[in-house]
Symmetry: D2
Subunit: 121 residues, 4 copies
């Protein structure tokens, strides 16, 4: 990522969450263990929106439900950014490196349309 003058999204969120926690003296609760638990809790709230829906219904959510899911996805992102910060991990850099790893692990010409490769995580 080119070093730009403008603040990137993930860094802006990181800073906003630092301010948020500091203003409330909530840093004491933000241990990596706790944040990891909060992260998976929010991921579960995303899962709940789809658990009784069919694959088709999941792809055509009514607007109110989609709006709720958007906020649950937001919760996951917020805890993810906060956890990365507390662990001093560069999240954007890690994401780019993982993409590169995936590109190498699943070469397009070999992995095309195949479920078996894709399921063997």
């Amino acid at each position: 990522m080119t070093p730009a003058a403008d603040h990137t999204e993930l860094l802006a969120l990181r800073d906003a969450l630092r301010d948020f926690a500091e203003a409330r003296d909530w840093g004491q609760f933000h241990t990596p263990k706790n944040l990891a638990m909060a992260l998976i809790g929010e991921a579960a709230e995303v899962v709940e929106h789809f658990q009784w829906r069919t694959a088709e219904e999941s792809a055509r959510l009514p607007d109110p439900d989609c709006a709720e899911v958007a906020l649950e996805l937001a919760d996951v992102l917020l805890y993810l950014v906060r956890l990365a910060d507390v662990l001093d991990i560069d999240l954007a850099d890690a994401a780019r490196r993982k993409l590169a790893i995936n590109e190498a692990r699943y070469p397009a010409e070999k992995a095309h349309g195949r479920a078996d490769k894709y399921t063997r995580l």
Copy 2:
């Protein structure tokens, strides 16, 4: 987010994931249900790194473990961005709106240092 000419991080990841899936014809597996399941699976891999560690050990991870956790956090971000895209949800916008909701729900002067408010999600 100001409409800027340069591609933002989250949009860049979104586009990279679109290309990745298309090149492998994996869109068929990327239903919201499946992606939600993959998302929580990756969150669980983050949790696993901390489940037997104490709060103190969790905050002082050895470098190799921290490097592994970085890639697990990356996996969560990648599936999160992909799921938002498939649902046509603007993730960055949702995150900013949720931050604002949290600011209003937990006013700094009332929520300061208190665990009870913070636990009542």
Copy 3:
């Protein structure tokens, strides 16, 4: 459940897990926080077996996969029994009470075949 002389399954598992942990001096790791994290980690391993499969494929797992899923379900049960024990919770009794609550919350004549009630947990 009638008070029987023979040891019930859940109590037998509870005792076996107590012996297992004690013999290895692992009680120190079995705090409720840690066990809750381990529990959800195992649930995630169950989810992983189905995340890329269609609903139909999920219902017709090949034998080797089914055997693996059986052991993942076992892992969930073992951590569940251990966590209940550490919290001094009677798991079998709680299950019966929750069934009764569900019976009252979703009367058969009203809830028949309806997804909306069932999704509003």
Copy 4:
């Protein structure tokens, strides 16, 4: 488990859940994918009770909270039993087999008090 005339706990729960689902025509929603998602959702509700608590607070839950956790553990057990049934898996047998595998994998004399072995799941 000795073949006994009296119905075991897990089998009794299995049958009660079969009746419950049938009376409401909810079998259509009980695909393995959906049940796996419901299972992890309930595990997340257990995790939520502990995420902001310290290890010590987690071990000394106030009675009302403990009562709530008991019902969450019950939810996990109910979905676990239901999922095993839908997959035609003998849950009690799988649990006993997994215990035996764990006994062999972590010999007491070698695994005693050591966190490293225990974390390498």
